[in-house]
């Protein structure tokens, strides 16, 4: 008798075990460690250059932090994509197909694994917020929202890596998308549609919160789409619908309110 028998429905526990396994592997992959180093460097540069200044803001001085974490988020996407394509790359699909954890559970385990890079980013961002508060100035609500938004962005792009692997299983796609993230910039003249850019920092707590909801919605859409590749279950459809609703509502709110007259809250 197999020792694994007797579990009623072990899929959630298996998914969590996979998430922990994949999360550790992601976090200690050389690419992500290098990107985390960039985020650390960006943070260190920000703190070092801001010491002694009276008037410090993330908007003006925190670009090194933003760039470091942007790189970390993009590398998270590449790393999750690389991990999701592991079976295809290494020829293990067949032997893993003979195991009880189906592709939906495997994809779910990988989507949830992005919690590890998110947690790593959150730790460092908390240090940024604390260091700023102690040594520089008390961060404003908008600045704190920008930090939260950055952590959510890691989850969004991590999920994007998994969904790309599920629907376009080609190892060249994620690097191309990553490159596009670097070269596609927000145009000089602000327009309301620019809120779709993941790094758009909006000038009020209210709108920044909606932008965070927008990123969260995208994360759910990507996660749902990755899981839907191996069958649309009720929970997967719910995830997709909630995510799509969050994206639609947040975009509607931001696009209608971000620009008032000639002033845009970017």
């Amino acid at each position: 008798m197999s020792s694994v028998q007797g579990h009623a429905d072990p899929s959630r526990r298996v998914m969590m075990a996979l998430a922990n396994f994949n999360g550790r592997k992601l976090l200690f992959s050389w690419g992500l460690m290098a990107a985390y180093g960039m985020a650390l460097l960006g943070t260190a540069v920000f703190v070092a250059s801001s010491l002694g200044k009276n008037d410090v803001s993330f908007g003006d001085d925190g670009w090194t932090v933003a760039v470091g974490f942007y790189i970390f988020a993009i590398f998270t996407m590449v790393a999750t994509n690389h991990a999701a394509l592991r079976d295809r790359r290494e020829g293990t699909s067949e032997q893993h197909e003979s195991l009880p954890a189906d592709p939906r559970i495997r994809a779910g385990g990988l989507v949830l694994a992005t919690a590890w890079p998110v947690a790593a980013a959150a730790v460092l961002l908390s240090v940024v917020a604390a260091a700023t508060a102690v040594w520089l100035v008390v961060p404003s609500g908008v600045q704190l929202m920008a930090l939260i938004q950055t952590a959510v962005l890691v989850a969004t792009l991590g999920s994007l890596g998994v969904v790309l692997a599920a629907w376009v299983p080609n190892p060249f796609v994620a690097p191309v998308v990553a490159f596009a993230f670097f070269i596609v910039q927000t145009p000089e003249v602000p327009a309301s549609w620019h809120v779709i850019f993941p790094l758009a920092h909006l000038g009020s707590v209210y709108l920044a919160a909606w932008h965070t909801i927008y990123l969260g919605g995208l994360t759910l859409v990507f996660a749902g789409a990755a899981l839907a590749r191996s069958g649309a279950r009720r929970s997967v459809i719910a995830c997709l619908l909630v995510g799509a609703a969050a994206v639609a509502i947040s975009l509607a709110v931001m696009i209608t309110q971000v620009c008032s007259g000639s002033t845009c809250l970017f």
């Binding site: 075990a17 592997k25 293990t92 003979s98 009880p100 954890a101 189906d102």
Partner: protein, 289 residues
Amino acid sequence: MQDTTIEFSSVDKRYGQVRALDSVDLEVGRGITGLLGPNGAGKTTLIRIAATVLAPEGGRVSMLGLDPAEGGGRIEIRRRLGYMPQEPGFYRNFTAFEFVDYVAILKEMADRRERSEEVRRVLGVVELTDMAHKKIKALSGGMRRRLALAQALIGRPELLLLDEPTAGLDPEQRLRFRETVSQLANDPVVLLSTHQTEDVVALCERVIVLSAGAVRFDGAPKALAETASGRVWIGVDQDSRAALSWRMGDGRFRHIGDPPPRAAPAEPTIDDAYLLMVGSTSDSQQVSA
């Protein structure tokens, strides 16, 4: 445990115009059963169907009393089987331990402590304990084969499917492999596909010969050898009437086929019987012993 673990009834499988399995009927029960046949005989197709990674086009399959065509049955079968494919894949940048650990999770071992113990156990069974924390890309071909066996042994499966497990191994590694398989604890049902007759003689209580997608023989290895009785002879010269002949180390020739009158008969081996069986294209009858 029921006596019959795998049951194939009139199972068909085609790849385009090629008929890989042609109305195959077989039952596999306790012990180690060898699936012997030349390349392209349909062994891998049969093993893949048994491993639930391939669906047959016709006929009925029952595994461990369950129907793999039905979703719930398929998952339950997968919980209880171990599968070592012909060309196992590995995550080369993982360590041996990590790879087997990952497979253990996919086998629904969610508890980390229980899983670690099981991974250590199976790595010990295949004598890879010392290599547990080496990256797979640093392991030799033989070690990788043993690692593939280790991942199949996770969870003490009731049914073990091994597809050409000794292919590419040197003699010492093959002997080690045989030792491991013969000493498996928990006495699982083992279906071992091979084209190496020595593996069958050394390990199997029963052998099924598959050729051109059909079962040609089903019985004990000794009974397989006996099917060549009277059709093997020794001569000093090559005999053109033999279906197959080769020069032996002592300079004499061993012939198999229909012997001429007054030929000196020789004791048949499983190799002789196998060669006669798979080499005989006109023989479409299944031999049962």
